[in-house]
Each structure stands twice: as structure tokens, then as C-alpha cells.
């Protein structure tokens, strides 16, 4: 029993961490938290089930197509919900524009895909049980993303340009970096990561439009606790969240697990609004 709690906790935690990273990648490029992070995760699952189960594509084709769908949605997010409002002085507009887009994605899915949670195909023809693929796939995806991002940031010029923009957008612009294309590329990358989270976690979460708000919330918890922009923080906090949630689920039941997660989230946010790692006070006057 302990084993299954730990396994499912870590697997769910990996999904939350990946959504957290999706938030972070978008945030680093634009200082915008986008509500579409959860919708991207939801779509990863729905697109996977659509391509592989309903349209009968092989995994080797359905998987890249699902990621491509995420990339496209990432770019759409940047183009219609972020770019137009970044210029505005009214800083909260992005909250509304990304919320609107996220709701549109969610509703579109509800109508075209249906409001029932549908099963996600088993990707590999392996026997069930024990350390099942539904557990190790999210973990593998999370590890792959962490390693991939690390390679990108450490060894490519575009990765360094992402870091430069995250650190000081103004200086990056003054230096002549193509800030807009880089931002778009970040959103495309975030789209792929979000879709990967939903795809890898498809078997656990199912292909369900209602996952969008859940992932939007539970994926943001690691960001808030781990410190915005910090991927390492998101992974640690995501795994802890997953374990805590599954353990509480088992020990005290679903209601109180949710209430407990929410309470912890609020208390930590109130005590440390900048996350457990790092704090920066902005000059207001």
C-alpha cells in the first residue's frame, strides 16, 4: 500500500512539476503567468487519446502530433493573449486574456470531445501492475524535460538568450536580441512541455476537459511554493505536493486532502508571497 501511495504520489507530482515548468518557461520570457498552462496539460491527454485511440494512429505518430498541438497552442497563447497586452500599462490584463483563452480551449474541448472523462490508451503493450507505465511515464517525461532544459540552457545560444531575457529583458533588448521571436519560441517550448505532461500522465488523469482547471491550480502550487521562475523549486515542490496529496487522500480521505492542500498553499503564500525560495520587493514609489 505504501508503495502504491509513493508511486502514484511521485507520478502525480511529476505531472504537477511539469505544469509548473510550463508556467515558468512562459513566465521567464514574458513575466506573465498564463492560465493556459493547465489547458495545455489537459489537451496533451485529449489529443493523445484522439490521435491514438480514436484515429488509430501509432504512438510514434500520435505522440509527436500531440506535442505539436501543444506547440501550436503555445504560439497562439503568445500571439493573441500575451503580446497584445504586454504593451499595456494595466498589468493585470494578461490575467484576463489568458483566462479567456484557457476557458475557450476548455469549452471547445468539452463540446468537441465531450464532457465525460475518457480512457487514455496504454502506450506500451506491457503487463499491468507494480511499477506500471502509468507511473513511470510521467517520471520519465519529467526527467527528460529537466535534462533537456538543462542541455538547452547550458549548451545552446538560444538557451542562453532565454536566460538573458529572463534575467533582464531591457538589457537583452538593448543588446539587439530578437526579444519577440525568443518570447514566441519560449511559448512554443512551454506548449510542448505542457502537452507532454498531459500525454505522459494521460493514463492517470484520463482524457478529460475538466483537468484544465485542476492542473491550472495544482500546477501553480509548485510554482508558488518553489519560487517563480525556478524549475528546480517547481520539481521539488511538485513531488512533495503529489506525495502529500496521495498520502492525505489515503489516510484522511479526498475532501480533507483537497482542503489540506489548499490550506497549506494559502498559508505558505500568505507567509511568503514570493515563494519559499527567494524574495524580491519591488519599488513601488
Amino acid at each position: 500500500m505504501v508503495q502504491s501511495i509513493v508511486l502514484s504520489g511521485l507520478a502525480v507530482g511529476c505531472i504537477y512539476a511539469l505544469i509548473g515548468i510550463t508556467y515558468n518557461v512562459m513566465f521567464s520570457a514574458s513575466r506573465v503567468f498564463s492560465f493556459t498552462a493547465g489547458a495545455l496539460g489537459m489537451l496533451g491527454g485529449v489529443l493523445g487519446a484522439l490521435f491514438i485511440d480514436r484515429l488509430g494512429m501509432p504512438v510514434a505518430l500520435g505522440f509527436p502530433l500531440a506535442l505539436l498541438g501543444g506547440v501550436a497552442l503555445g504560439i497562439i497563447t503568445e500571439l493573441i493573449a500575451v503580446r497584445p497586452v504586454l504593451k499595456s500599462l494595466d498589468q493585470h490584463l494578461y490575467v484576463l486574456s489568458t483566462l479567456a483563452l484557457a476557458l475557450m480551449l476548455q469549452q471547445f474541448t468539452a463540446i468537441e470531445w465531450g464532457t465525460d472523462a475518457r480512457p487514455f490508451p496504454r502506450l506500451f503493450d506491457l503487463p499491468r501492475g507494480g511499477f506500471d507505465q502509468q507511473f513511470w511515464l510521467p517520471m520519465l517525461a519529467c526527467a527528460a524535460v529537466i535534462v533537456g532544459l538543462e542541455l538547452l540552457y547550458r549548451h545552446t545560444l538560444i538557451g542562453r538568450a532565454f536566460q538573458a531575457i529572463a534575467e533582464d529583458t531591457y538589457a537583452a533588448r538593448a543588446l539587439g536580441l530578437p526579444e519577440r521571436s525568443l518570447r514566441m519560441a519560449s511559448y512554443a517550448l512551454a506548449g510542448a512541455i505542457g502537452a507532454l505532461a498531459g500525454f505522459a500522465g494521460g493514463e492517470m488523469l484520463l482524457a478529460f476537459f475538466g483537468n484544465a482547471p485542476l492542473l491550472t491550480f495544482y500546477g501553480f502550487v509548485p510554482v508558488a511554493l518553489g519560487g517563480m521562475g525556478s524549475n528546480r523549486g517547481a520539481v521539488v515542490a511538485g513531488l512533495l505536493l503529489g506525495l502529500f496529496q496521495q498520502a492525505a487522500n489515503f489516510l484522511v480521505g479526498g475532501i480533507f486532502a483537497s482542503v489540506a492542500v489548499f490550506t497549506v498553499f494559502i498559508i505558505v503564500l500568505l507567509a511568503r508571497p514570493e515563494g519559499l525560495a527567494g524574495a524580491a520587493l519591488q519599488r513601488r514609489v
Partner: protein
Amino acid sequence: MQMPAAGLHPGRVNVLGSMSTIGALPLLALFAFGVALPLFGGGYWGVIATRACVYWVLVSGLNLVVGFAGQIAIGWVALLTLGAYTASVLVAGNAAPQLPAYLALAIAGVVGAVFGLIVGLPALRLRTFYFAITTLGFATIVTQVALAWQSVTGGGVGVAGPVFPPPFSSEWGFYYFCFGFAAICTWMTGNVAASRFGRALTAIRDAEVAAEASGISKPALLVTVFLFSGAVAGIAGGLFATLQSYITPDAFTLDLSVLFFIAILIGGRSSILGPLLGTILLTVLPEFAAPLVAWSTFLYAALLLVIVLAIPGGIAELLDFKNRRPLASDRAIVPRPELLPRLLGTPADAGALTLEQVALSFGGVHAIDGLDLEIRPSQVHGLIGPNGSGKTTTLNVISGYYAQHRGAVRLNGMALPVFARERRAHLRIARTFQTPRVVGSASVLQNVMIGGTIDGKGTFVESLLSLPRHRRDEAKLRDTAMLALTAVGLERLAAVRADRLQHSELRFIEIARALMLRPAYLLLDEPAAGLSGEEIKRLGTFLLAIAAAGTGVLVVEHHPDLIFDICHHVTVLNLGKKLAAGTPAEIRSHREVVNAYLGG
């Protein structure tokens, strides 16, 4: 431009009064339509109209949170859920002895208020996205609890809604019951919107630091508003349960929350009529286009996106024809210093404002390093120095944005509390900002009235119910604000939206707002920045007149001409320390100052 005659009584110009009369006409028309509705429609339309009323009861309260205070509360359906289950469960007697429907409804309101406060409290510390996501999280949790707590809520099976005794048991009877609540909510929130509380909420939304400088306590105000908003949401929940006659967790989807939230934004911020129309529109629209029902939330979301990108002001701004009229382009600001004694009265001697050995460093860098300063009533004190010398930091320590690490700031010998920014206004210390902070969507007069918020005597409840003290407060504030506007020479623009003004005009509006406090001390942060030479001269004369009326004026400024023209005393800072102090003539011939200033 012609100067108005000196004998003018600007306080008599009741700009707001005339505006609210125009604004009230559509509301009265809607009211009449609502009363007469049973004459027109059949049964089904009655249900739709009742639903619109119930939604509006909730939205009217949420409007103060979202539309006025600017808090992005997207999970308000949670309070509807709580209210609905509270009322239903209490009437059904699942958890406690059965209660009558009216009492259950009242308790639903209390529960709503308590949880409104709980959901809202994070807004005191969290901004925009963080707050939005906490309300979303709360909504998710409440539904999960409703589903899981079967013994009380009936779980997925649900529970019957309360039934009210006659005359409210019939369909139209219940309609009038809900309509009554809706009408009262409209009236009450309209009263608040036109009160100093409504203006203070918009100030918190658009110009938070200016709100603090005007003595507005954000926590106290938001707590009040969350309580009110939660209470009406809880009552709306109870009514909703009756309307549905049977409730399950499925009835409270996030879609509903989105509807409430979007109704407000489509309607427009700082408006009552706009969100009311928005609510009616969003409730009725799907009935006209049955095939679109499934798509309704999608369309609402699309509408929200369009509004955010194209018309951030919502319906209310589209209908604001008055503010489309072009303004005269050759307007000049001609202050009338002679009105200042009337505006400022004869201030009691507040004593000197002193800094003693104040030190403050940021990450090892000494921003201010052992600074002594004395500012006296009736004097203009100039604070100059190169960039990074600590001028604005000094001002921010005095007004409570930074806490000094050492030393004290005293007013008449009494130490000013650190960080308590809104306390400054109560001590009659007013300030302006480097970049003018105004509520762009409010009129110029309303902006100035914000400055007098703390002089109001009535409570929030008195404003809700438009009791006499509230009305006296408003009349007095309006008169004083008009006088302040006339003194700075901007009375002609009283009714104009503040965001249509030029930069220099906004500077003078800030000064007018600060004067509403009848300040003992007025702190100005680079007031001449962005002004033309002529405007700087007028500003100088005006500041001298403010000092002559008894106020101590501290000017942080780059413009040496302004400083040397008007200051009685000048302090020069360099690297956080006092480099020199004296009369303008002494400073001008001070070699070290010239060097530091020129960077030689």
C-alpha cells in the same frame, strides 16, 4: 481662455449630481420593466427573469470586488454553492433541526459573509494572478467537498432547495421576492459606488500608493467589501437553491463563475449599470439562440478576450459619450493662490517635522546615512542632489514606504510609526508622486475627492443605505474638492475623465488631492518634471502661497531654477549625506555643491 470671475461659487456646480441623474434613468426604466414583467411574459420567461435577478444579487456584490476594487476573483461560484447548501441543508434538517426558510436564508447570508472574508483575505497580500488562482482553487475545493460530504449535502444525489411560504411560493411571487433583493442590491451598491468608499475602492485598484497617501486603509476597506459581497452571494445561493428546487454539485460549475465575472468586465469597471446589463445579457442570450447554449461559455470567454484586447472599458465606456467630446487644446493652468486660505483654513501649529540621524541601506549600499533635517511650517524646503543621493528615499522614509534602520522621523517631537503609510494622512502629512498616480477612469473631481476620504464621518453601512450623514459627507467633500480644483485652476475639467488630461494637469490634480487633507506638511516628489518653463513658474508661485497659508512644503527636485526661486531653505544631499544646507544664495555659491551637482 477667460479667467472666471473671482466671486464664482465653484462649489455649487453639482457635476456629479447631474451625472447620477442621467445614470439613474436606465436603472429606473429597468426597474419599471421588472415590476411590470408579469404583464408581458409567460411562465418560462418568469424563470429566466428570476434567474437574472438571483445572479444579479451575487454579481452586484462581486462588482464591488472586481469592478471597483479590481481584485480578480474568478471563483465566486464557491460562495453561491455555500449559500445554496447552507439554506437547503438547514431547511431540510440534514445536519441540525429544521429551520424556517427565511431564517435559513439569513444564515446563508452570514455564512456567505464569513467565507467571503476567508476567500478574500489573501487579496490583502497577494496580487492579481495569485489571488485569481486562490479563488479558483477555493471554488474547486468547495465543489469537491459538496460531492464528498454525503451525509450532509447528499453528495451526487443532492438535496432539495428551500421553499418559501406564500406569498412567495408561487412562481411570480418568488420572482418578486428575488426582484426585491435585486433592486435593493442595485440601490445599495449604487450608493456605495457614489460614496467615498466607492472612490476609495477605485483608488486602491488604480492608484494604490495614492490611496495610502490619502489615508485609505486597504485592509479595512477590503474586509468590509468582502463581507458585503460574501453576504449577498450567500443570499443569492439560497435563492438559487429555491429556483433550482433541487441542487447537486453539478449545478455549480466554474462556468457559472465565469458568467458572473465576465458580466462585470463586459459591463465595465466602476459601473453599476454596465454589469447589470451584462448580467441580463448573459442570462438571456442563450435563450434566444438555443443551438448556441452549449457554446455559451465559449462565447463568453471569446467575448472577454475581445473586450480585454479591444475595449478594456466595457459597455460603460462605450456608452460614455460625454467623454468623447474633444477638450480645448489651448488650455492653460492658471492657479488661484488667493483661494488657498479658504481651502486650507488656519492650520494649528503642527510643530516641526524632523529627521534625526536617519540611516537606511539597501543591500549594503547606504541610501541615507545619518541624515538630520528639519522642515518647519510656512516654509518651502528644497531637497536636491545628484541621482542616487537619497532624495526620494528620504521622502519615502518620511511617508512610510521605507523603514529607517536607525534614527527617527518626528512630527512635533512625536516619532512617526514606521511603515504605517495611511497614518501619515491622519497626521496631515500629504504627498505627491514622481509619476502622477490618479484613477484614470474617474472624473477629475472624483480624483480630488479621494484626497478627502478620511474627513468623511459616515460608516460603510450609512453609505449603503444613503443615510443623512453619508449625504452630508458627500456634499461637503464635493464642495471642498471643487474649491481645491478651482485653486489649482482646473475647475473647468472637473467632469472630465482624468486619463484624458495632459501630464502637467495631472501634476496639479495631485496637488489638489493632497490639499484636500489641509496638510500641515506637503511633500512633493519632482513636481516640475515634465512641466514647461511657464508652468514651473506658476507651480513655484503656488507652492509659495501654500507655504504662506501655513503648510510646510518639502520639494524634491532636479530643476535648480524652481528650487532657487522659491525655497526658504535648501538641503543638498550627496551619497546619502547632507553636503550643505542653507539659503538658496548660500547654496548657489557653495563650491562643493556646485561640484557635486555638476559632477566636476
